[in-house]
Amino acid sequence: MLTTENTVQWLTKFGEIISMNKAYLNELDSRIGDGDHGSNMVRGVEAMLAQFEAMEFNHAKDVFKVTAMALLSKIGGASGPLYGSAFMEMAKVAETNDLVTILTAGLNGIKKRGKAEVNEKTMIDVWEPVCQALAENNLTKSIIDQAVQATKPLKATKGRASYLGERSIGEIDPGAMSSAYLFEALLAGELIDG
C-alpha cells in the first residue's frame, strides 16, 4: 500500500541512490550524450530532499507534487521536464493509492512530454516494462536490470544521443539508468504488496 510515509521513504532512497551514482550517470551520459545527466539529477534530488526536510505532508499526492516542482525547477536539460511531468501526472492520480495506476500515469506523462515511444533508447524503455511487471505483480530487481541492459543494443532516435546514430548502439541509456534507481528504491520499500 502506498502511504504518505512510505512515499517519502521511497523518494528519499531514490535521492540517495542518485547521489551515490552521480559520477556513473555522468559517465554514461558522456558516452552518448553530453556528460551531465548525473549532475542534473543530483541538483534535482538535492532540492527534493531539502523540501522533504522542511515540509510535513498529508498525502502522497503532495509528496509527488513537491517532487515534481523540485525536479522541474532544478534538473534542467531533457530529463528535468520529463521527470517533472512524470511526478506531476502521478500526483493527479495519487488519490487512488494504486501504484500501477500512479506509475502508468507517470509513464504517460513522459511519453506525452517527450513525444517518444518504447525502443527509442530513453527512460521509457525502463518505465514501460516496470509498469507492466507491476501490473502482473512480479516486479523484481532482475526485471529492472534487464530493462536497463536492453537499452544497450538500441539505436537512439530521440534526445541528444540520436545525433550519434549508429554510434549510440552498445551503450546504456543514462536516463534509463536513473529511472532504474527510482524503481530499485521502490523495491527497497514496503510499497508493493507481495
Binding site: D34, D36, G84, K155
Partner: protein
C-alpha cells in the same frame, strides 16, 4: 584544463554577476533568477524571450536591449534553463501584448520552454514560440531529435526584435519567425572541441591535424572527420552543403554570417569570409548583408560556422538594418 575560473559550480552565478556589473546601465538581472532583462522596457509591444544553456556567450544576454530581445534566460553550462526561470522571464517582460519565445531546437530546450509556455498560459499570458533549427549538418529528422538551432538564432533575434519594436502583433511575429527560420541555414566546422568546466576535458578528441565538419555547438558529432584543410577548401565544403540545401539560382538575395565558435580569432574569420566571397561571386548570388564575429559560441571550441539567410522578403532586410541597442550585436 586551463581556464580563468573559480569553482566551476559557481561559474554561472559569477558570470551573471559580472554581466550585471558591466552592463547595469542597460540590463537588469531579475532578483533570485538567472534571467537578464532590458532596463528600459517599452510598453505596448510584444516581448521577446530567448535563452538556453550557458557557454554560448554573447548569446543570449548580449542581445537583450532595444531592437532585439526583452529577456534572456541563462541555464547551466550547455543545459537548458528550467521552466520556472523561463516563466519568471515571461512574467517580467509581458506588457499585455504577449510574449514570443525564441527556442533553439534541442530536446531539453524545447520541453522546458514548452512547459513554461503552458504555465504562462495558465496565468493568462498570451505566449507563442518560434523554434530555430538551422543546422543542416543533421540530415534526417525521422531518426534524430531534428535539426539543431545554432548561429542562425542570432539573426532571428535581430529580425524579429526589430519587427516587434515596430509594432507587429504576436501572431504576425510568430508567422514571420516561422517563415524566416525556413530560410536560414547554417553549417559548422570544428578544429578543437569545447571543454565544459565541470567535465574538465574536451567533449571529443581531434588530432592536431584533424577537423570535423558539422559539429554542433555542444560538441554533438559532425558528419565527416578529415585532415585539416585550408580556409579556402573549408569554404568550398561548407558552401557546397549550403548550395545543396538552398538549391539557389543566380541573382537570388542572401545575407551571410560567419560565426566564430569561441577560440577562433576574428582574423581567421575574416580570412574565411574572404574565401566565401570569392565562391559566392562565382555563384552569382546577390549578397545584401555580411556579418562576422563570435556571436554564438561553444565555450572554447575552435572553429566557425557559416550561415546563409535567403532574403525572400524586403522587410527582412529592413528589420536586419534597423537600429539596435544591445551590448553584442556589433556594427
Amino acid at each position: 584544463m586551463k581556464k580563468i575560473i573559480n569553482d566551476p559550480s559557481h561559474l554561472l552565478e559569477e558570470m551573471l554577476a559580472g554581466i550585471d556589473y558591466a552592463h547595469g546601465d542597460k540590463l537588469e538581472r531579475i532578483k533570485d533568477t538567472n534571467v537578464i532583462v532590458r532596463k528600459n522596457k517599452r510598453q505596448g509591444k510584444v516581448s521577446l524571450v530567448s535563452g538556453g544553456g550557458s557557454g554560448h556567450e554573447p548569446s543570449h544576454a548580449g542581445f537583450v536591449g532595444e531592437g532585439m530581445l526583452d529577456a534572456a534566460v541563462c541555464g547551466e553550462v550547455f543545459t537548458s534553463p528550467t521552466p520556472d526561470q523561463i516563466l519568471a522571464a515571461i512574467k517580467a517582460v509581458d506588457s499585455g501584448s504577449g510574449v514570443l519565445l525564441i527556442v533553439k531546437n534541442y530536446t531539453g530546450d524545447v520541453m522546458n520552454f514548452e512547459m513554461a509556455l503552458e504555465l504562462a498560459e495558465m496565468e493568462g499570458i498570451e505566449v507563442d514560440q518560434v523554434i530555430v533549427d538551422d543546422d543542416i549538418a543533421v540530415e534526417d529528422s525521422t531518426y534524430t531529435a531534428g535539426r539543431r538551432g545554432v548561429a542562425g538564432t542570432v539573426i532571428v533575434h535581430k529580425i524579429l526584435g526589430a519587427a516587434a519594436e515596430q509594432g507587429l502583433s504576436l501572431l504576425e511575429l510568430k508567422e514571420l519567425g516561422d517563415k524566416l527560420v525556413e530560410q536560414i541555414k547554417t553549417i559548422g566546422v570544428a578544429i578543437h572541441a569545447a571543454t565544459v568546466p565541470e567535465v574538465g576535458k574536451p567533449g571529443f578528441e581531434l588530432a592536431d591535424d584533424e577537423l570535423e565538419y558539422g559539429v554542433g555547438i555542444h560538441s554533438e558529432p559532425g558528419y565527416r572527420r578529415e585532415s585539416i584543410k585550408s580556409s579556402r577548401e573549408i569554404a568550398e565544403e561548407l558552401i557546397s552543403k549550403l548550395k545543396q540545401e538552398f538549391n539557389w539560382q543566380s541573382n537570388e538575395r542572401f545575407g551571410v554570417f560567419v560565426n566564430g565558435l569561441g577560440a577562433t580569432p576574428l582574423m581567421e574569420q575574416y580570412v574565411f569570409l574572404n574565401d566565401v566571397k570569392q565562391l559566392i561571386e562565382a555563384e552569382n548570388l546577390q549578397i545584401e548583408f555580411k556579418k562576422v564575429g563570435s556571436l554564438m559560441t561553444s565555450i572554447d571550441m575552435a572553429g566557425l560556422s557559416l550561415t546563409f539567410v535567403k532574403l525572400t522578403e524586403q522587410e527582412w532586410l529592413d528589420y536586419y538594418h534597423a537600429p539596435v541597442q544591445v551590448t553584442s550585436w556589433g556594427g
